[in-house]
Symmetry: C2
Subunit: 209 residues, 2 copies
């Protein structure tokens, strides 16, 4: 069903490019393309410019691997690593930059981060060398005297749990306190809808009232 | 919750631009942006190029208002209006170019099209002058001697029905045969799941076995 043969080449090329994006199927790509056909040349310039804009203007923080502007004048560090207001001795380890953003929105993290850029997943061919793990271990080793705490905030799925365990095994002798974010019933959660694993964790991790 | 303040400007600009697209919310825009951050500069060039590609390379067919290449060497007409294989005396009226594509995929339309670019919807401020209706009426008037049939293939929602009725009222004295696509139970449809309106139409429009 090549519906694109009835369309001008520029339109079918656009549909194909949009269709390459994750979660955007053929039908969505068609609808997006027709939406873009109705936009002004100026709007199209802006969209295309923003795609090209990330090409040379973004790099990773040399310490925590968060994203930072390539034109960052100060040094190779991101805003958070550069901030005097943050506790540089508490490191929160996350899988992705999006996780960092989610945690920042809680405004509960006073320390800094370390972004692994993934989680251990042997079935998908993701081993320790594919993540920023060596960089984390070096960072802890070099700062062992000053670092107060490492918070493992990887996901609570099997990959995230395995990654947290791997980090714990490697750092447990470093003398630095290591903690894991709590698992349990989400706020607003109904007890009888929760799965057994979650309930087991919620019971095990119970805290004084 | 401006999660973009933790991101380099180039990334937050990209997220904002993607967020402007229909059906793409903030979360989807973030995920798409992070997907694009992992793509090669070449892939980004292709995507941006395809967006810019529709700027000057696409126009509407001067007869049926289907899309056509601006560089079309022959004339101002689209592939279908230019085709010798199509019956130029049967005009199928549709709301959008996407409807034309859906009908083309059935391979049941031997004639040509007229794309209205919308449907009458007074509540949304869409009146007859906002659609390619005058162009349709002119086209029928000029070709009244040769045109055999006009098939009204607008949607069967209230806007599509109103548009079909409006066209019928304006063309019923033109001497040209006017038909409406059938409404009824969709193929594979369960009778007891169909709404009353659909069942009523299916009964009314029953055909000899």
């Amino acid at each position: 069903m090549d519906s694109n043969k009835y369309l001008p080449e520029a339109v079918s090329t656009l549909i194909e490019e949009l269709n390459k994006l994750p979660t955007i199927g053929r039908k969505s790509a068609q609808r997006l393309a027709f939406y873009l056909l109705r936009q002004s040349p100026n709007d199209l310039d802006q969209l295309a410019g923003s795609v090209l804009g990330i090409k040379d203007n973004v790099k990773f923080c040399s310490r925590c691997f968060n994203l930072t502007s390539a034109q960052s004048d100060e040094n190779d560090l991101c805003k958070i690593c550069n901030s005097q207001a943050r506790n540089q001795n508490s490191i929160c380890v996350v899988e992705e930059v999006l996780d960092l953003i989610a945690l920042e929105n809680t405004m509960e993290v006073s320390g800094v981060y370390h972004v692994l850029h993934g989680a251990l997943s042997p079935l998908d061919g993701v081993g320790p060398s594919n993540l920023k793990l060596a960089e984390l271990f070096n960072r802890v080793k070099e700062g062992a005297d000053s670092i107060d705490e490492i918070i493992l905030a990887t996901s609570t799925n099997s990959e995230g749990e395995a990654t947290a365990l791997y980090i714990y095994e490697n750092l447990k002798n470093s003398g630095v306190k290591i903690s894991r974010i709590a698992s349990g019933l989400p706020i607003g959660g109904d007890l009888d809808y929760a799965d057994e694993g979650t309930l087991r964790r919620a019971l095990k991790g119970r805290v004084g009232f």
